[in-house]
């Protein structure tokens, strides 16, 4: 059981130079989960990757015309559940219509959502007020 509670909120400008910072937070969290019994190195990479992909997604879907736009990322860990929310202010997109990559005819794009779906336990993308929220859940049992 992981009883520790971690709550993190980060707000960054919509610039890709902050991806390293966001990904690193995920990696550090994986290393701080004292009672996690799984593959810690793999979890560290996966959280780094998922936070990176989700933040890129928010930057891409953000309001490109507004240089002051920001992406808000929250990370909550309670008991055995890790919850990531990434908020953007863009037009949004239909998560359900994002196809699986074509493994026989691989293309350069379209692998980000695949990584999030494959490595985490649940992913939703919903409109909340003036934001879109990509919510990602990982069970840490």
């Amino acid at each position: 059981m992981c009883n520790s509670i971690i709550q993190i909120e980060v707000i960054i400008p919509t610039q890709t130079k902050y991806l390293d910072l966001i990904g690193s937070i995920g990696e550090h969290i994986a290393k701080e989960l004292d009672e996690f019994s799984g593959d810690r190195e793999a979890l560290a990479y996966h959280l780094n990757l998922v936070l990176t992909e989700a933040t890129v997604n928010a930057i891409k879907h953000g309001t490109l015309t507004n240089p002051g736009d920001t992406v808000r990322i929250t990370i909550n860990i309670q008991e055995n559940e890790l919850n990531i929310k990434v908020y953007d202010h863009g037009q949004g997109f239909d998560l359900e219509s994002v196809p699986l990559p074509d493994f026989d005819q691989p293309k350069e794009g379209g692998m980000g959502i695949f990584f999030i779906r494959t490595l985490m336990d649940s992913v939703t993308y919903t409109r909340q007020g003036d934001c879109n929220v990509l919510e990602i859940i990982k069970h840490l049992s």
Partner: protein, 112 residues
């Protein structure tokens, strides 16, 4: 992006001197590889020893290089990949697309 280019045993070897390839620097990698191919260097080995993290855009940049080299009858191969990075190629089945070598010597033996 910190890249070094060397000609070794007749092969063009691109050393990536970064720990992280993500959407912030993958465009630069893609352009660098494309530039090499346009200059006629169509057989390239990308040495990834220092890279401990790659995201989907990094995989995309290497795939772009692979396709552009193949379009000119060349080949882009990969060497010295760390295990976690290799696992991203396995997850996306891109390990079936690229020739992936343990080190440069293995790459030279196979490519020449």
């Amino acid at each position: 992006m910190n890249l070094n280019l060397e000609k070794i045993n007749g092969c063009t070897v691109l050393f990536i001197k970064e720990e992280r390839i993500d959407a912030h620097n993958s465009g630069e990698l893609k352009e660098a590889v494309l530039h090499l191919i346009e200059q006629g260097e169509v057989n390239i080995i990308v040495q990834l020893e220092h890279v401990r993290f790659i995201d989907s855009s990094g995989l995309g940049a290497l795939l772009s290089g692979y396709k552009n080299a193949a379009a000119k009858s060349g080949k882009l191969a990969l060497a010295n990949m760390q295990q976690q990075v290799l696992s991203m190629f396995e997850l996306t089945r891109l390990n079936r697309v690229f020739d992936i070598y343990a080190d440069l010597n293995e790459a030279f033996d196979s490519e020449t």
